[in-house]
């Protein structure tokens, strides 16, 4: 019993960066733009957020700058694809390559200057990121640990996902956004300012991805900077968007399922399943591939895939 609770708690933690990446990408894809640069935006967010945290020792400044860094990297993507109508796939891939390289470059640059030879976050900020403790609530057996024991990141992520779900499904702005992703021509004729809406949502999506990135750099490795700290989570997030059927609420569930896959190796007794560790490392990616295969075979039901996804909109084109 104890180990199951520990496993679930670990799964939620491991799924949180995916949640940010997925929700951010859902917002982006609802504009009809497929941004394959999630990994890159997360890396940039991870790097800038970590460095701000390292030098200022302030958790909220770190979060803020991670979001701004993510937003700036998404801005590059938006300028290229919305304004200049560059190919979305190529732009996104380039952003990923650039983002990872940028993060590692800054990381090594700062690392070489540090006297200890490592970059470890100061104590105050690490304390701010630790699991919360609400007197009373957190002490309830089982439920306390399952619901009220996480890092603030987890709650921020869930709140963002819920807000996005409300935004997409219950507001006029959300309706306008979805219309653009489905049929930009129709949205244009209805008087919606397409370029503006696209920019706002792509940048917002990038900001959310950036926060996901800073989770990777600050939490996963216990506050120590390592290179390539996002490590492919951005790619899983892109696939999770499909798994979540473009619904932020499903993204919460999906990312925790994938989080569980990532931490499975620590909780499966080797004596029962004698697989090599590498197999468990592979599991999330294997599942990602499976999700993509299954979802592409799915025919019935209302798939929320934006109909104009991947197509740049040019008003005068016929």
């Amino acid at each position: 019993m104890d180990i199951i609770i520990k496993f679930l708690v670990a799964a939620v933690g491991a799924g949180t960066p995916l949640l940010f990446g997925t929700v951010g990408e859902i917002l982006t894809e609802k504009t009809g733009h497929l941004n394959l640069g999630v990994e890159g935006m997360m890396s940039i967010g991870a790097c800038i957020g970590f460095m701000v945290g390292y030098y200022t020792d302030n958790f909220f400044l770190a979060l803020l700058f991670a979001a701004i860094a993510g937003a700036c990297s998404a801005l590059i993507y938006a300028v290229l694809t919305v304004t200049f109508m560059a190919n979305q796939n190529v732009t996104g891939l380039t952003l990923t390559i650039f983002g990872i390289g940028f993060a590692n470059f800054i990381g090594i640059f700062v690392l070489n200057k540090s006297p200890e030879g490592t970059l470890k976050l100061p104590e105050r900020i690490t304390a701010a990121m630790r699991g919360i403790h609400i007197p009373g609530l957190s002490d309830i057996p089982v439920i306390g640990e399952l619901l009220f024991s996480y890092s603030p990141f987890v709650y921020i992520g869930i709140i963002i996902a819920v807000i996005c779900a409300y935004y997409l499904n219950r507001t006029k702005e959300g309706l306008n956004l979805k219309a653009i992703g489905e049929n930009p021509g129709a949205a244009d004729a209805a008087g919606i300012k397409i370029t503006k809406v696209k920019y706002i949502n792509i940048i917002l999506g990038g900001a959310i991805c950036g926060i996901g990135g800073v989770y990777c750099s600050m939490i996963i490795n216990g506050g120590v900077w390592i290179s390539d700290n996002v490590g492919g989570l951005g790619w899983i997030a892109v696939a999770l968007v499909i798994f979540a059927n473009w619904q932020p609420s499903y993204a919460i569930l999906g990312s925790f399922v994938f989080g569980a896959l990532r931490v499975l190796k620590y909780y499966i007794p080797q004596s029962v399943f004698p697989f090599p560790i590498a197999f468990y490392d592979m599991l999330p990616f294997l599942m990602t591939a499976l999700v993509l295969v299954i979802s592409s075979m799915r025919k019935s039901g209302r798939i929320n895939l934006p109909a104009a996804l991947g197509l740049n909109y040019f008003r005068e084109e016929r």
Partner: protein, 513 residues
């Protein structure tokens, strides 16, 4: 006098001029519509109708001239401005989000807080009742028929308070019955005081619905006439600028052999749903078989099955007793079965938009060449021959075909198919979006083929044309044949009934000739 008149007009355009580079699209056009009036706008392709309407709906801005709405001079800078002035445009290609419900499409782009679905739904129902529209606000657009979608388009502009409606070829995709229904709605709107501008190529409809007609020719407004004082002949004359014979020739050919026989053919769409359901028919040499049907009744799939592009589930396609099923498209072309399909976007099938005429000619002939190199000379000669013969307007044989106007693109496609001297010519929507003059050129081309003893299958939209051009008419409805009738003796109404599947005489084997 002029002062008094001004206030009566819903829209008044004075000396509107619009240039695109050196080309004058609109040259001092005058146009006016009163409230409670339907004005038809008539003109050939490229006469400036769409440009003018785009200026009224805020997409383009006039270089000079004035626009008055309800007597007040206005500047329309964007679609939102137009909407605020009460101008609603209903585009030829629907601007609807398929994945949304009707009501979401209707409220799209409106300002203010989102209302409860129920409130919106009530409002929509109220408007529909006023104008006699039928709609289910909760229905998804993807589940709707073409005419239902059009209703949503109309409601969209009415919901936003439009009193001036502009309809761009609204009947192109409707059956005669649906067209009648649309006209009833438009008449009701006129009663309620709306001003309506309708653009259409079909003269019969102009005469049926409009109060006045404004005719544009080469960017100039030629004349505005009262519909009551007009007939089709006069309108055509005004439009083309010279008398034109409206009769379509229908040469009678001697009875000949059957060349293509379709037996119990069933074809599925790529997504697995049934497109063609167990149909049988035949085409003889020297006849034109017209195919009527609402868009999406299986016409495209039938063409593709005969051309070998789509596998069929059941049945046979017999070409002179030889089954074409299972043969590759190039083997079928080899046999002399030629297809020209003009899709809604006019390109897409048959031509490569970014290649020039020469390269497009080569597409069908390069395999015949010997050796690894392509000989461009014959293709270039052919392209030049077509330019001369069909009067194709193009800067040169190497200009990408997408830069040509719609009519010229269609001539390129049809010309290439005909030059291959086929024995069976399948042509779908060859006059789609063409003006009267170009259309008649196409009809002449088809008749020429018929006289050469070619079997022609003509899939068309305009029933009036089908009735005059074809020898027999086959009607498709939901992938089934609902009738094959003699075009010389049938009526438009009869075909209209078959198009909706309302006739009970599903008699596929009926031989009319």
């Amino acid at each position: 006098m002029a002062q008094q008149q001004k206030t009566q007009y819903a829209i008044e355009c004075r000396k509107i001029t619009k240039m695109f580079g050196q080309v004058i699209a609109n040259d001092e056009i005058d146009l006016n519509v009163k409230y409670g009036e339907i004005l038809a706008l008539l003109g050939e392709n490229g006469s400036g109708k769409t440009t003018l309407m785009n200026m009224l709906s805020g997409i383009y801005h006039p270089d000079s001239g004035q626009i008055f709405i309800g007597g007040r001079e206005v500047k329309i800078n964007s679609p939102v401005d137009a909407m605020n002035l009460g101008i609603g445009m209903i585009h030829q290609h629907f601007k609807l989000v398929e994945a949304f419900r009707a009501m979401d499409n209707i409220v799209l782009g409106t300002k203010g807080k989102k209302e409860k679905s129920k409130t919106t739904s009530e409002k929509i129902k109220q408007i529909s009742e006023t104008y006699g529209l039928e709609i289910e606000p909760e229905k998804y657009v993807s589940d709707m028929s073409v005419s239902e979608k059009q209703t949503v388009e109309i409601l969209k502009v009415l919901y936003k308070g439009a009193e001036i409606l502009i309809l761009d070829e609204p009947t192109a995709v409707l059956t005669p019955q649906e067209t009648e229904k649309l006209f009833a709605i438009l008449r009701k709107m006129r009663e309620k005081g709306c001003a309506i501008i309708i653009i259409t190529h079909k003269l019969q409809e102009v005469l049926a619905i409009s109060d006045r007609v404004t005719i544009l020719r080469k960017g100039k407004s030629i004349e505005t006439v009262n519909t009551a004082d007009c007939d089709a002949r006069k309108l055509t004359e005004l439009m083309v600028g010279r008398p034109v014979s409206l009769e379509i020739e229908r040469p009678q050919m001697p009875e000949t052999e059957t060349i293509l026989k379709i037996v119990d053919l069933s074809v599925n769409k790529p997504d697995g749903s049934k497109a063609i359901d167990d149909i049988s028919f035949e085409i003889k040499r020297g006849e034109i078989l017209g195919v009527a049907g609402v868009a999406g009744s299986g016409q495209k799939e039938l063409c593709e099955a005969i051309a070998g592009l789509l596998p069929s589930q059941k049945g046979a396609i017999l070409f002179q007793k030889e089954n074409l099923l299972g043969k590759t498209p190039s083997e079928i072309i080899e046999k002399g079965v030629s297809m020209s399909f003009v899709p809604e976007d006019r390109l897409g099938m048959g031509l490569v938009a970014s290649m020039g005429m020469t390269d497009n000619m080569l597409l069908k002939s390069y395999q015949k060449g010997k050796g690894p190199f392509v000989n461009r000379k014959p293709a270039k000669d052919l392209a030049e021959k077509l330019i001369g013969k069909l009067g194709i307007v193009t800067p040169g044989t190497e200009t990408p075909v997408r830069l040509l106007s719609g009519g010229n693109v269609q001539k390129v496609l049809l010309g290439r198919e005909i030059e291959a001297s086929p024995t069976v010519l399948i042509t779908a929507y060859p006059v789609r979006g063409l003006d009267i003059n170009s259309s008649y050129t196409v009809y002449d081309l088809l008749n020429e083929q018929k006289k050469k003893n070619v079997a022609v299958m003509y899939i068309g939209e305009d029933l009036d044309v089908l009735l005059e051009l074809s020898d027999r008419i086959m009607v498709l409805c939901h992938g089934r044949i609902t009738g094959i009738v003699d075009a010389r003796s049938t009526t438009k109404e009869e075909i209209g009934m078959m198009m909706t599947g309302e006739n009970n005489m599903i008699d596929t084997g009926k031989e009319a000739l």
